[in-house]
Assembly symmetry: C2
Homo-oligomer: 251 residues x 2
Amino acid sequence: MAKGILENNENYQPGLSIDCVIFGFHDNQLKVLLIKTPYEDKWSLPGGFVPIDQDIDTAAVTVLNKRTGIEGIFLRQFATFGRVKRNDKHFENKILEHLKIPEKARKWFTQRFVTIGYYALVDFLKAIPQKENNKGSIEWIDHKEVPELILDHKEILDKALHTLRIELNLMPIGYNLLPEKFTMPELQKLYETILDKKLDRRNFLRKINNIGILNKLEEKKSNVAHKAPNLYVFDKDKYEEVLKNGLNQGW
Amino acid sequence: MAKGILENNENYQPGLSIDCVIFGFHDNQLKVLLIKTPYEDKWSLPGGFVPIDQDIDTAAVTVLNKRTGIEGIFLRQFATFGRVKRNDKHFENKILEHLKIPEKARKWFTQRFVTIGYYALVDFLKAIPQKENNKGSIEWIDHKEVPELILDHKEILDKALHTLRIELNLMPIGYNLLPEKFTMPELQKLYETILDKKLDRRNFLRKINNIGILNKLEEKKSNVAHKAPNLYVFDKDKYEEVLKNGLNQGW
DNA sequence: AGTACATTGCGTCATAATAACACATTAAGC
DNA sequence: GCTTAATGTGTTATTATGACGCAATGTACT
């Protein structure tokens, strides 16, 4: 919840919020950063409100930065959710009381909200979940084991993943999700996890190499079971270029 | 401008608007439906506000329906625009006076607005531009000859076209842009116009046919110069199926 | 040390998709 | 009837994709 919002409603854009679907990758699993709500047994996406003097993109960056502690990450708006009924039952009186929201601020919280969805791809190891005032809990959760979410947050999460899957065909990914040096099997696992589909090792290698954004290092990964795989890094310049121009332009 | 908004601000979601980029196709040109603003020599996208008790998608349908008179059209949300400065200079006093907006309503119009962009594909011949109270003017304008637009509407239009170009690879189009019976050269021209690129006749035919959404009719187009082209119709069932499942799934 | 096993690197082959191009057909206009 | 411009229907070379074979490498076990 945004700082000072209880005292200064008028400093925020009314009826508008930001919700972020923050993806990370760890242990061959796609993780999503979720927050446990203090007042009921559900979870929510990290979100916030939009300061009246701040661009919506900036407000999204603020949410992300506040929750992960990192900057300069991949962040993209993917949809805006505005069904009337999406929050009409949410902030009931008992919840407002539990949150100790003063009477005069309640109207602000119970108004109709439209929310703008952003999704982010971040480095799991660099992104340290940040609690709100050291209270509550925030955790990385396997996207296959997402618990019940408040409001329409499940729908938002699903839409984010769907968008990510489609955009896999339009842009390279991995730079923000993997450590600097990584192996081909790791990159492949990332794709397989996002797509929820097995890919052929050898065809994957060929296709990824054809994009031309990887540099193979001399070193191999050490301390691994079985044959040591090669290490790769992204060629940042080429990566950015492909990100900008897109790939796979059908027509 | 939405009905009753001057008297009943509180019936609308504050600081939120809808803008529609309505595309049509005629004379081998991609057209955009634009409105001449009465108070200055600029044009704007057709838009509206969001009734407090209406889904945003419904509000977008309302705008579209009001401006074209048609229903059941292809309409898709593509982005939300929320820079702080996007409308801070727009509704200056002289404009508010010109619009005869009463003093107490001015605060509503001068607040910060975030707008949700939708784009639509409609049949040029069926969509008859509808004026506001028979005042002002609304016209189909060639997308290559778009005049100066208010606010960030040019940016919104560009983003819509960019989205449409990308989505050409993910879905079939034409059903909402062409008459029921059409020729292959017409469909090709549509693609060429949207993409702003020449395509090879024979390769285009093969690729379109492989999608499997067209039925060739027995008849040919009559009263044409040169060789009479075949007529086609979309197979609605297959079209809808491909629309839903998408095409060209890279991975 | 030797062997089984899992995993990686690198390659082949058949098929499908794409790009570039040739030629015959049809109708209008002179 | 001839020219012209557009359409219908191919062919061929190149590239991308999908399915699969096999040798190399390191761990674990006997």
